[in-house]
């Protein structure tokens, strides 16, 4: 009796909830970053304007990536909009899995999207995802600690200067580490950092014949430099620190410098979260005089899977969420420092935004990044901190685990590179390169 009633109640409730969802509703998969969560808060305005309801699936980055990849490759149709990055977009666009965004309305002004962003989110000249926010990476440093060390940060520092400054600022007795960098395994974490850094050392992932090049002198120098500097001046346990861990350390005043995503600038200068908000300076990511800096380029962007029945509603949402008006809406409510950065040229021409301390350095960093020409010597792939081929994520996760083990002192840098070479060579051969 109880069972039957319970089942009946369950069925009734199921019918009830599906029945009420008849109005057009789009489902959006997104990542749990601050800007995305803020956007969810404003969704009511979109619904009020268009009558389209929005359902959110908010997931942590790694879970999101597997979830949307499973759905897109099987044509599962669970999402009308997916939040993806610069790595996925060209691969998916090439496979015809995304709805082209080349017919956005004139009001939207697609030409206003920063060229570097539009370039990274296109395949064969067609835009497949609209950037919600874009980022490069840059140096964030403590002006007070730099002054105390008697140093002055140039706008475009070299790695040698960074290493020297880090050592000078380090004060382990007071829990201050000269520099905090990502050492965490994962291609989007430490893997992204070391890859971008290696570009400035003249290293690259693959040569023109798609052979991995971890046996090169340049990679050895990159890793030795990184590990040497972090052992001298980095926090304990940096081999497990990613973006979030370092952000937390920096906000607590435990880092002298932090080289990471430009979007972090608004978090470390926000007095509500950061204890060092009023003493943060910015500089371009360092170089080695070889003509390439170590900054990356990334965007979290909204794309429409080709399988959706609701492409028009989805397009309407994308036009709303990545519009100039949305930026103004956030600026009016939360201040200019909190608008999603790095996507539109007009934002950086706005005098009010130019007054934000990190605006210019963010723009300069983005402009100095070129995914099509990221390495000192020619390379066959697109992407700065990644190579936009389907095999990359898997290889780079394994490779970055070997690197992290070297950072932690569980193997030497040479051993890590030898293993990385073997892993990459095996996977590339298996993929038929």
């Amino acid at each position: 009796m109880f069972v039957r009633n319970a089942l009946r109640a369950a069925t009734a409730l199921t019918l009830l909830t599906t029945g009420s969802a008849m109005a057009e509703t789009i489902t959006i998969a997104t990542v749990n970053n601050g800007d995305m969560i803020r956007m969810q808060g404003y969704t009511d305005q979109f619904t009020a304007e268009t009558g389209i309801d929005v359902e959110w699936v908010t997931l942590e980055e790694n879970v999101l990536r597997q979830r949307v990849t499973t759905d897109i490759t099987t044509n599962g149709g669970q999402f009308d909009i997916m939040t993806i990055g610069m790595y996925e977009t060209p691969i998916w666009g090439k496979n015809g899995w995304l709805v082209p965004l080349n017919d956005l309305s004139a009001d939207y002004d697609a030409a206003d999207i920063l060229p570097a962003m539009a370039g990274g989110l296109s395949y064969d000249g067609t835009l497949f995802a609209a950037p919600f926010y874009g980022e490069s990476s840059m140096v964030m440093y403590r002006t007070d600690l730099m002054a105390a060390a008697g140093l002055e940060m140039p706008d475009a520092p070299t790695w040698d200067f960074i290493r020297q400054a880090a050592a000078a600022m380090t004060d382990r007795a007071n829990d201050i580490n000269g520099i905090c960098l990502r050492g965490k395994a994962g291609w989007g974490e430490g893997g992204a950092f070391i890859t971008a850094m290696s570009n400035s050392f003249g290293a690259q992932w693959f040569d023109m014949d798609w052979n991995p090049t971890f046996d090169s002198e340049a990679w050895l120098n990159t890793l030795n430099f990184f590990k040497g500097m972090m052992d001298e001046s980095g926090p304990a346990g940096y081999a497990t620190n990613g973006f979030n861990e370092n952000l937390s350390l920096f906000q607590q005043g435990k880092c002298g410098m932090w080289i990471d995503a430009t979007v972090a600038a608004s978090f470390v200068t926000n007095p509500n979260d950061s204890t060092v908000a009023d003493s943060v300076g910015f500089a371009l990511a360092p170089d080695n005089g070889l003509g390439k800096r170590s900054n990356w380029l990334w965007a979290w962007a909204l794309a429409i899977p080709a399988g959706t029945q609701k492409a028009d509603a989805a397009k309407a949402f994308i036009e709303w969420a990545t519009s100039k008006e949305y930026i103004e809406l956030v600026a009016a409510n939360e201040g200019w420092a909190n608008v999603p950065p790095g996507a539109r040229t007009s934002l950086y021409e706005n005098p009010e935004y130019q007054a934000v301390p990190f605006a210019q350095m963010t723009l300069d960093s983005i402009l100095s990044a070129d995914p099509n020409n990221s390495t000192v010597n020619p390379s066959p792939y697109v992407g700065i901190q990644f190579a936009a081929i389907p095999e990359f994520a898997g290889i780079a996760t394994d490779v970055s685990q070997e690197f992290s083990a070297a950072y932690a002192g569980q193997q030497t840098v040479e051993e890590a590179l030898a293993k990385a070479q073997a892993i990459a060579a095996e996977a590339m051969e298996a993929a038929g390169y």
Binding site: T69, T73, A236, G237, Q410, A430
Partner: protein, 288 residues
């Protein structure tokens, strides 16, 4: 006692469960076997044709394979030993007369209700984190350098978290078994002047053997496939990659379903070896 009619009725009653499980086992198993012989690469557009035994060879010759098998066995065996040993001791303790027994029991079984993702996150961030974790605070309080658990003790960390989750289960089953122990037998032994350790070894442990077997069997089934605890803590870094995790990486990170499926077949083989090994012990002990 059983008539022919009741036999066929019995078969009929078993049919739904058996058919469903057969389907649940055979359909995915067949598909796994099929995919394991294909070059199935979702990001390259799907099925790229017959692969022969390439996937099998590649999976087993990968440098990550044997370490993953060993890591799996290490974690399973580690958790089993800890939960059984502590479970027996805890069950003995809880069986003693005390004040507030019900509340203590509630406290002890609570971890079993916590979802693996949550316990992984809570342990990793709030206890084992080397900067803000509670363990780091304690280490610092005693003037020691906080341990970077995820880096230097990845196995200990994972085994700790998983053991914490499964200790209540072991304790409960062992406690029930202890409570069924004939107390007169124990008292008689006590009268005869048998020391506590001897009573424990010669009366309690043999009585518990059946319960211990059950704990081993059930836990092994669940432990062979632990995933969330690794995913949210080390994500397979620092040598903590289990076979399940390696397959996860091949399927979802490398997007190579063929290779992952071959790994799945190996995992089934490993599980069956463990199962046969267990059955040897269990079968003997479970004969009613």
């Amino acid at each position: 006692m059983a008539t022919k009619a009741s036999r066929s009725a019995a078969r009929l009653m078993m049919a739904p469960a058996v058919v469903l499980l057969l389907g649940w086992m055979l359909v995915p198993l067949t598909m796994t076997l099929w995919f394991s012989f294909r070059n199935y690469l979702p990001l390259r557009g799907g099925d790229q044709g017959f692969a022969g035994f390439d996937n099998y060879v590649r999976f087993v010759t990968s440098s990550a394979f044997w370490p993953a098998v060993l890591a799996t066995l290490f974690i399973v065996v580690g958790v089993l030993i800890i939960t059984v040993v502590l479970g027996v001791l805890l069950a003995l303790l809880l069986d003693q007369p005390m004040w507030g027994q019900g509340i203590v029991r509630i406290l002890v079984i609570a971890p079993f209700f916590v979802m693996p993702t949550v316990s992984g996150l809570v342990w990793k961030n709030m206890f084992l984190d080397s900067v803000n974790g509670l363990f780091a605070h304690i280490w610092r309080f005693f003037g020691a350098q906080p341990v970077e658990w995820m880096i230097h003790q990845p196995f200990a960390s994972i085994i700790l978290i998983v053991s914490w989750q499964w200790l209540p289960f072991a304790t409960l089953i062992l406690l029930t078994a202890i409570q069924s122990l004939d107390s007169e037998q124990l008292e008689a032994a006590e009268m005869d002047g048998a020391p506590a350790l001897k009573r424990f070894w010669f009366i309690i442990i043999p009585h518990l053997s059946r319960a211990i077997t059950v704990v081993l069997l059930i836990q092994t089934i669940f432990l062979l496939s632990i995933f969330a605890e690794i995913f949210v803590t080390t994500a397979g870094a620092f040598g903590s990659k289990t076979l399940t995790y390696l397959i996860f990486q091949r399927v979802l990170e490398s997007q190579n379903v063929g290779l992952g499926s071959a790994g799945g077949v190996y995992a089934i083989i490993l599980a069956n070896i463990v199962a046969i090994f267990l059955m040897r012990i269990v079968g003997k002990n479970l004969d009613a």
